[in-house]
């Protein structure tokens, strides 16, 4: 094929159709158990740890990662892999052992809901609206970027790609909810890993092995001298100086992503037990370890096999075209689609959860002083999923026109809010003295600084041309400082408000321990027998949810009043 496309054969199309049919079948199969909001948004709290771990990783990897990470490795070297390595591991442990247990025990649907209990409704609603909008915008970016990618490698019309993806994902996400999303993610991870491994192994074999790749790349010239270095100097010309990698990525962005991004945390909230929630997040670290081997190694091998590519992003499509036989090309194409769908379905389900639980339900309660019936919440959640999907499809071309580089767009948008939200989350969980207005002021000041630093007039403030790592760091620092200062200037929160929401509370409070023990017994013995799969479970969520006021009074720990 000389037109730049992959040139799929009949068997390749058969593999792709088989994959799409399988995903639809698995996804819609879970629709039969969706009868309440908790079933739709939290998979009836029945997810096992292995599915959570696999789903977290696959939600994080998009189709464009296959192309852009390999292209980045071709251009900058192994430092690109930091985004999957240091960009995940310490953060996943912090999320698993510090944040996830609190979220899971408190029975919340969303991270903003937890922050609403810890701080106030203003924090909850403003954060939920921001995250919801960011996820929908990200959805549009992912759809259009992948459609453009598929046009390049497959010759498909972008609009056809967008609509095919939207319809397939829309059907199983709106009908099967989080259970469908997570279980299709498991299937998608297998397809991605098999497809990615096929290309990586074939490329390394063709290049003569890892040792030969290293020798030849380092001998290619001084500009390749740091291609096998993960830690680059602070004054490097690449976007990955060690300072930004350690402070911006390792401390702020990765922790905010794995502990505060609804699209990631929601899987752990749907766990069948606290242990499964923690184990799933730790397990994700193991799968993340493999991602650079699948997406970055082909980029390095391409330097040997296809040196001098004008556009480094052509590395993977060219390798597929050059090295893979018919059948494996179809598998690799299915891996692209799997990566796209797994990210789109997660963003869609989470955006819908945020706007339903934290915005629509709260506004309805404020307007009518009545709780919305569970079946209506379910209807709203499904309707919002469809609305968000349509909005993402319609705004996708507009996003592409406004941003010259899709990756810059995604990172800039996320850097607006990740630092400030991590700061108030961290202080909220670790520091009893953090107050509602401290949290709100910290969030508002951090987001304001992020917005200001992203303005065109601020170009040159940082030496890096892509300063999102530094913007995330400084907005985190400012939000942290403002929260502390304003908290000291405002009266402390009453103990009953923060009960069960701050580290150390559980150990100090026997009544809270009793409440937790009852909750654990109910979850593991009565409703959700341990080690029963998601399929076939009967959800406790059919019972009406307790009034938010009652749950807040309990610090979110238990629906039953605990004697103190």
């Amino acid at each position: 094929m000389n037109d730049g496309t992959l040139g799929l054969a009949g068997i390749d199309y058969a593999i792709v159709l088989l994959y799409l049919g399988g995903v639809l079948l698995v996804g819609t199969w879970f629709a039969r158990w969706v009868r309440s909001p908790a079933d739709l948004f939290l998979a009836g709290r029945g997810l096992p740890f292995w599915a959570i771990g696999m789903s977290i990783v696959v939600s994080d990897i998009g189709a464009t990662d296959f192309i852009a990470v390999a292209g980045g490795t071709y251009r900058y070297g192994l430092a690109q892999a930091n985004f999957d390595w240091i960009g995940s591991m310490p953060a996943l442990l912090v999320a698993a052992f510090l944040f996830v247990p609190f979220f899971w025990r408190s029975g919340v649907y969303t991270v903003p809901e937890f922050l609403g209990r810890r701080y106030n409704e203003a924090v909850r609603v403003s954060l939920a609206m921001c995250w919801g909008l960011i996820l929908v915008t990200n959805l549009g970016i992912m759809l259009y970027a992948t459609a453009v990618l598929l046009r390049g490698v497959m010759g498909w019309d972008p609009l056809v790609s967008i609509w095919v993806t939207a319809v397939v994902v829309g059907i199983y996400t709106t009908s099967g909810g989080l259970a469908a999303v997570v279980m299709t993610d498991v299937l998608q991870l297998v397809v991605m890993f098999v497809g990615g491994a096929a290309l990586a192994v074939r490329a390394v074999w063709e290049a003569g092995g890892i040792g030969a790749i290293r020798e030849q790349v380092l001998a290619s010239g001084p500009e390749y001298a740091q291609h096998f270095t993960l830690f680059l100097p602070h004054d490097t010309t690449t976007p990955f100086p060690w300072t930004g990698i350690l402070l911006g990525l390792g401390i702020v962005l990765s922790t905010a992503y794995f502990a505060g991004n609804q699209a990631i945390v929601q899987r752990a909230l749907g766990a069948r037990s606290e242990w499964d929630a923690k184990a799933g997040v730790v397990l994700a670290g193991l799968f993340k370890l493999c991602i650079p081997l699948l997406v970055a190694v082909p980029g390095l091998a391409a330097l040997v096999i296809l040196p001098g590519l004008a556009n480094p992003d052509d590395a993977v499509p060219s390798l597929i075209r050059t090295l893979l036989p018919a059948g494996l090309r179809g598998l690799m194409f299915a891996a692209f689609i799997a990566a796209l769908m797994s990210s789109v379905d997660s963003a869609l389900n989470s955006a819908s959860t945020l706007w339903t639980q934290d915005v629509f339900v709260r506004l309805h309660h404020a307007a009518t002083r009545r709780e919305l019936e569970p079946r209506r919440v379910l209807l709203v959640g499904r309707t919002l999923s469809v609305v968000f999907l349509l909005a993402a499809v319609l705004i996708a071309p507009e996003i592409e026109r406004r941003f010259s580089n899709v990756y810059n767009a995604i990172q800039s948008i996320f850097s607006l809010i990740q630092g400030p939200s991590l700061a108030i989350l961290l202080l909220g969980v670790l520091w009893r003295r953090a107050t509602a207005w401290g949290g709100f002021a910290g969030l508002a000041s951090g987001v304001t600084l992020s917005v200001v630093l992203n303005l065109d007039s601020m170009a040159g403030v940082f030496h890096s041309s892509e300063p999102y790592l530094f913007i995330a760091w400084w907005s985190f620092v400012l939000a942290l400082l403002v929260t502390v200062v304003v908290s000291f200037a405002t009266p402390p929160e009453p103990p009953e408000k923060i009960r069960g929401l701050v580290v150390g509370e559980l150990r100090r409070d026997p009544a809270l321990q009793g409440a937790l023990a009852r909750r654990m017994r109910r979850l593991t013995a009565e409703d959700l027998p341990p080690h029963r799969g998601t399929a076939g479970r009967r959800s406790k969520s059919e019972a009406p949810l307790p009034a938010p006021e009652a749950r807040i009074a309990m610090g979110g720990m238990d629906e039953e009043p605990a004697s103190s």
């Binding site: 442990l93 830690f231 184990a279 730790v282 403030v461």
Partner: protein
Amino acid sequence: MKELLQGVFGGFDAMLLAIPLAAARWILVAFFVAAAGASFLLPREFIFRGAPDQRWYRDLRWWAIGVTVPYVLIYAFVG
């Protein structure tokens, strides 16, 4: 405003530039080790809460060590 921010960020940059790259790499390795090691400070009851039993292979502290070791090796010897 821009000058003020440049002054603040520039001062911090100058401080970071004084740290040798090799030292920075070992700071990162220590960061990984501390994160995994800290899990052993957590009470056993917390680690197993919600687990069907308390067999050794469900001890998430060992999971944390097992998952972190490859990262430590990568940054210590490849980085």
